[in-house]
């Protein structure tokens, strides 16, 4: 009983456990698993990452003006959906050129707005992908 | 894992003879869709404080069969029986539908034939 009072009293002078956001910025872990980033020049278009991804957040879709890369025979373009990605980094482990073609950053994905058409544009890509298969 | 085949007529007797409540732990009832409108029902037990001793009684049945209930022998089986009814659309004595699925949802999702 008395110890509770004593504790309550000392608690009055403790610093709070929460931080004063936005005055104090949130500390970002260096090793946080965040968004996947892609280096187009190093990619050899083996599509291993696309196959390995559990939710299907990486799609290579044929486009009219494909990126310049001599390995890119089928004229594919890399697409990544940060809202579908679960940050498991299976793709990076599957990639034959990790760190150059595909790597995991510690950035967090930003919230999307309606104007971004996150879902609709992704569904269109998926449809395109299905047609070419 | 030891697998023992039983039939629906004898399963209650077999489990009654086998199950000692201080020795065996009833894990769950499991269903498995097979080809040709058949399914397999499994009653899975494990032994207390033994290393990796599981016993599985199984029976191959048609979806139209009625599975006898073992709730009077093992009261905790009721919940897995109700799950089996929902997921496979078979009948288990004394277990009603509607643990997980509502009337207007997809029915018998795991039965592999009636979607």
């Amino acid at each position: 009983m008395f110890s509770s009072f004593a504790k309550a009293f000392t608690n009055l002078f403790k610093t709070p456990q929460t931080i004063d956001y936005p005055l104090t910025p949130i500390e970002q872990e260096k090793e946080h698993r965040g968004l996947i980033e892609y280096g187009q020049e190093a990619c050899i278009y083996c599509l291993k990452c696309e196959k390995a991804c559990p939710p299907g957040a990486i799609l290579f879709v044929p486009v009219e003006n494909p990126p310049e890369n001599e390995k890119n025979k089928k004229g594919l373009k890399y697409h990544y959906n940060p809202y579908l990605c679960i940050y498991c980094s299976e793709c990076v482990r599957a990639c034959p050129k990790p760190d150059e073609a595909l790597w995991q950053s510690n950035k967090k994905s930003l919230p999307a707005t309606k104007e971004d058409r996150v879902n609709e544009s992704w569904f269109e890509l998926e449809r395109l992908k299905k047609q070419t298969d | 894992m030891k697998k023992i085949e039983v039939s629906l007529d004898t399963v209650r007797e077999v489990i009654e003879g086998f199950y000692e409540y201080k020795k065996w732990h009833f894990l769950t009832l499991n269903g498995l869709a097979l080809a040709e409108n058949k399914m397999e029902v499994q009653w899975i037990f494990s032994k207390y404080e033994a290393l990796e001793e599981t016993v599985v009684y199984f029976a191959q049945i048609a979806y139209t069969d009625v599975i006898p209930s073992i709730v009077d022998l093992i009261p905790s089986a009721i919940i897995s029986q109700r799950e089996l009814v929902d997921m496979f659309g078979v009948q288990v004595e004394g277990s009603e539908k509607g643990l997980y699925l509502d009337e207007d949802s997809l029915q018998n999702p795991l039965s592999g034939c009636s979607l």
Binding site: M1, S4, A8, Q17, E29, E31, H32, R33, P54, I86, Y87, C88, S89, E90, R93 | M1, Y21, K22, H25, F26, L27, T28, N30, G31, L32, A33, Q42, I44, S46, Y48, E49, A50, L51, E52, T54, V56, I74, P75, S76, I78, I79, S80, E83, M87, G98, L99, Y100, L101, D102, L106, P109, L110
Partner: protein, 361 residues
């Protein structure tokens, strides 16, 4: 003339974190009958596992069954696949798996304890335990890269190695947590408001624990020696200092004490692992397609978790059966409620530590 009234608890209730509905049939204050509805968050994961995903990504799918014991789910599934493929993983990977499993147990038990306090009306204690739980969450993020969805286990080993700075941080934080937990022990045994609400309430006798196949801390608080860590050999729990924690009272207080003791035991295991981590690879490639049946059990924070996996030699599996701890305990829960006061129902429910998204999967 006797009259009974039906009072529901849930599906939305301030004392509940997750959607479950209990219908209590009450005679004055006493509960005489219970009916439960648990299917509010059914997502059809078992079906998705056999129709939508290949076997090598299901480890990530089943981790989404539940946020609190995600690691136990992906671990059980992965071990089942490793059994079917016949691969052996390195000793270091095994140790790292136990490390994360136990860290997960610590934070999950702390969450449960804080909620029992909240339901006893002790908000300050709730805040304290939740605040201290951050220490564990922090090291989980350091170790795996994420706070909740660890995605740490893959078929053949683990995804990240433990480096020395992280190991040091884990040791520091766990030491801190240990001091705090010893403080809670005192609070939970001696504090008046907690004792009044917890001692002698919601008791389950040993015999009933056997009859209703109780599992996890619920069963161990009644003196039933069931802990899957004692009954499996895929991970070397005995080498890292696992000790079963039991109690004989079977009431809410006993469950809390079992959980507290388990936290201490888990901390000890984590320390042993970090001090004696063997050298070696963390990942061994295992090739092949699963064929045959396997049953794998693990001790999740809430009790025994079982996976039944059947493969047919292709990338798609025939069946993934998930038996979650809360699901199997529902008959025992319903039994405990009978004869208790309605006013105690939220506190009793919180002491079960129910996880409904596991149950409905």
């Amino acid at each position: 003339m006797k009259q009974t009234i039906n009072i529901p608890l849930g599906s939305q209730h301030i004392a509940l974190l997750e959607p479950v509905r209990f219908k209590f049939e009450c005679e004055n204050e006493k509960i005489i009958g219970v009916d439960s509805d648990v299917g509010f968050v059914h997502r059809g994961i078992e079906r998705a596992c056999t129709t939508k995903f290949k076997f090598d990504s299901i480890g990530y799918v089943v981790a989404r069954v539940c946020g609190l014991c995600a690691i136990t789910h992906s671990l059980s599934y992965t071990v089942a696949i490793e059994k079917l493929l016949g691969g052996e993983i390195s000793k270091k990977a095994k140790y790292l798996r136990i490390l994360l499993l136990e860290l997960d147990r610590i934070h999950s038990h702390m969450l449960c304890l804080s909620h029992t306090c909240e339901n006893a009306g002790f908000e300050a204690m709730f805040m304290r335990i939740m605040g201290d739980r951050e220490l564990v969450m922090e090291i989980q993020e350091l170790l795996t890269g994420n706070r909740v969805q660890f995605d740490y286990i893959s078929i053949g080993g683990v995804n990240r190695d433990l480096n020395s700075t992280v190991a040091l941080k884990i040791k520091e934080n766990l030491y801190e947590v240990k001091q705090r937990v010893l403080g809670y022990m005192d609070e939970f045994t001696n504090n008046w408001s907690l004792s009044l609400k917890f001692k002698g309430i919601g008791a389950l006798s040993l015999d009933d624990a056997y009859i209703f196949n109780a599992i996890g801390p619920l069963a161990r608080a009644s003196g039933l020696n069931i802990d899957v860590r004692n009954e499996i050999d895929y991970l070397p729990f005995d080498e890292v200092g696992f000790l079963m924690q039991t109690h004989s009272d079977g009431d809410i207080n006993a469950r809390n004490l079992v959980r507290l003791n388990e936290i201490l035991n888990s901390i000890l295991m984590c320390e042993n692992i970090i001090n004696g981590l063997p050298e070696g690879e963390i990942f061994t490639k295992i090739k092949g397609k699963p064929n045959g049946e396997a049953i794998v059990r693990f001790e999740a924070p809430r009790g025994e978790l079982m996976y039944y996996v059947k493969g047919n030699g292709t990338a798609m599996l025939d069946r993934v059966r998930i038996k979650t701890p809360t699901f199997a305990s529902i008959p025992a829960f319903s039994h405990i409620f009978v004869g208790q006061d309605y006013a105690d129902a939220p506190a009793i429910l919180a002491s079960f530590d129910p996880c409904l998204s596991c149950t409905a999967k």
